[in-house]
Amino acid sequence: MTQVTSILSSLAESLRRHAGVLRSASVLTLAVLLGVLSTACGEPPTATEDPVAVRTEPGELVFHPDTRPVAVSLVNISEKPVVIGRVRVDESTPDWVGFAVGDDAKPGRLAPGERMTFHVGVDSGYFLGSGDVRPVVEAEGEQLVADDEYREGKARLAFTVDGQDHGGMPIRFEDPSWVGQYLGPALVKILLLVMGFIMPLASLLTWMERKQSAMMQDRLGPNMAALKIGGANLRLWGIPHFIADGVKMLFKEDFIPRKAHRALYSAAPLFAFIPALVVFAIVPFGDALCYDRMLEPLSAADVAQCADGRGGTPLQIAQIDVGLLYYFAVASLATYGTALAGWSSYNKWAILGALRASAQMISYEVAIGLTIVGALLVYGTLEPHALVKAQESSYWGIALQPLAFVLFFTAAMAETKRAPFDLPEGESEIIGYFIEYSGMRFGLFFLGEFIEVIFMSAMLATLFLGGWGLPFGMLGPAGFSSPLMAQLFLFGAGAGLTVMGVAAWRTGKAGELFGATVALVGIIHLFIGVWSLFTGWGTEIPHILVVGLGMIIWGGKVFLLCGVQLLIRWTLPRFRYDQLMSLGWKGLLPLSIANIVLTAILVYLLMPGANPAS
């Protein structure tokens, strides 16, 4: 409480101190605000009748050779009921024969907002180069394709609304190349995720670890490294320290003990580092991205279609059905790095560290594995992307599986070998498995550890905190679920950012630019919130914005969870080996089994769909 009052009072004081600047800024703000309001009030939003009474979801149907029938919805977006005629594939389109509308497409009457869903399938054999079925109409100048290739096909879904012919819906059959569909996007995503998020965040964490711990411990922490650009001397709260660190590690003497096993000694850091990166393949860092229609608001079905790889790509490097098993398989490999480092160093302390690491890994993998079973029971999938989607439609994992969350968090921290579970390192006891390492080899262990921290945060976010989503389904594929939600979000985020920005501005000279930027972003949020108040804006947002917002939310969650891990790491004392073991085997393991049993019973009782008896 005292903190809040002190922050408030300091805010007030700062406002007083910067009165001049703030006054002019506030006058400007007020002017802009008034302008916006007058514009908004001058032209009150009118309920313009949409000439098209029905929206199709997805807006365009795309098929691949292996596509199963796709669900298509027709939604009544007008204010009066409409009657939908028979849905068919328009026979005037070139490839209408290749597509078929399912039996569930029954004509009927749609109340306002009601949705009619049916399936459309494709006979991909029709599009096979020299198959039995030839195209009815051959496009002019179109080259015949080879026997084992697919040609592209085009058709149109047709139906009537209130007896009038609706514009229909384009259907496409395409056969993108493997490179175009899988490899290219994957490479881009790897680059985006690794180079754009993980490595910067891991590097930042090395700084954050020091800065945050410093702030927790009433110290200043790193603050002297500076970027000299022209005449400017950017110190940025010491963030450039991680660059200096990297340079230092690269240039440090790379020392190999005389009796060490050279090959394994050299390989061990890679064994520790690479699995930590590879597991990121299954982490979804956002919903699907549709290439062609980034600026339009898209429906859930559009996005789902993109997530299936049709017309877009999921923001996940590899969509593996058994994603979590993949994670267990790969993450365990990191232990080899630790064990090999300890063994090959030819140092008793190192091998003690390696033994501790191996034992710890075995004990806590089990607990982690069993913990996730709960989530599996509830959401019925092991695929992370699907898990997130499932949480969007029901509740977050933390609400449905609170015990599992605590257990997973604990075990995950143990997996990352950080305090209070940093026994393999145990700097004050055995100094750890990397005692003999120096330079970039040590740096790889170091960085690998931080990447594991990020991964564990990402997993926590994915499994329990709804991935890229906002709580209560606030953010849907098309935008916020309602204007109220949008306004809530905008005002909340805006106020938070503004306060943070002002606070950062006031911490010192270095913070002014940053703080002002953050505050500006916050104020923009507030403006948009006001705008939304008057216009109800927020339910229809361009696709790219939604995706971007999702990624930012995901990144924010991961970042916060990293911060929490750091907070824990710098707060708690370390376990002793026997206590660690007993916690793992006698604490976490029984609890996770109990969690499974409890979840199973509850699922059996409460979720009729999962109950085979019902």
Binding site: Q3, S6, I7, S10, S14, Q212, A214, M215, M216, Q217, D218, R219, L220, M224, V406, M500, A503, A504, R506, T507, G508, L567, I568, W570, T571, L572
Partner: protein, 195 residues
């Protein structure tokens, strides 16, 4: 005014057994420090002396009695006050003061030809100041000896030591009769006066 004996102990409770409440309490404590230090001007409780920051004069942090870099005081004519009596080099536990005497050929008779202090050897005990019978050497510069690139830079000669100096309060041969009135007890310039 009594000195008594008290038993101190700590009993475990169930709350302690389940880890989480205490951990949360700890997290709140550290988080409180974190937020206070991060978001209040001047970094809240952080009281680190910011050596080397532009605009920070570390002298402000040092108390009046701080023992810093040595300096040599002057006479009225600007020459060195020291008469090379070797008291400081004798009392120095680190043997870091090297003095060579020479004849001054005036009433002061004696002066240091060279007066060298190796600041790297100095243990900053302040005994040289206490031992000086002429108010010639002082450590009240409130200057911390900063690291240097070479050892030679840390060896201060007479000129460097005198460059920090000012006129001494002691005069050759004393103030003369009735000196006790002339040099009042409370004069802070008569440093190290315990009475």
């Amino acid at each position: 005014m009594t000195i008594s004996v008290k038993k101190v102990s700590l009993q475990r409770t169930t709350r302690d057994q389940i880890f989480l409440p205490a951990i949360l309490e700890g997290l709140l404590t550290t988080a409180r420090h974190f937020f206070k230090n991060t978001f209040t001007p001047g970094h809240g409780d952080v009281e680190t002396i910011r050596y080397g920051e532009p605009g920070v004069d570390v002298k402000d942090y040092y108390p009046e009695r701080f023992r810093g870099v040595h300096r040599l005081m002057h006479r009225e004519d600007g020459s060195v006050r020291c008469v090379a009596c070797m008291c400081c080099s004798t009392v120095c536990p680190a043997r870091c003061i090297y003095i060579e005497a020479e004849d001054r050929r005036d009433d002061a008779e004696k002066a240091p030809r060279s007066f060298v202090i190796d600041e790297l050897k100095c243990v900053v005990c302040g005994f040289c100041v206490e031992a000086c019978p002429c108010d010639a050497i002082r450590m009240d510069t409130r200057e911390h000896w900063i690291p240097t690139e070479t050892r030679a830079e840390a060896v201060l000669g007479k000129v460097e030591l005198m460059s920090r100096g000012e006129q001494s309060v002691a005069v050759q041969g004393g103030l003369g009769a009735s000196y006790r009135e002339q040099a009042p007890k409370a004069d802070p310039r008569f440093t190290h006066d315990p009475r």
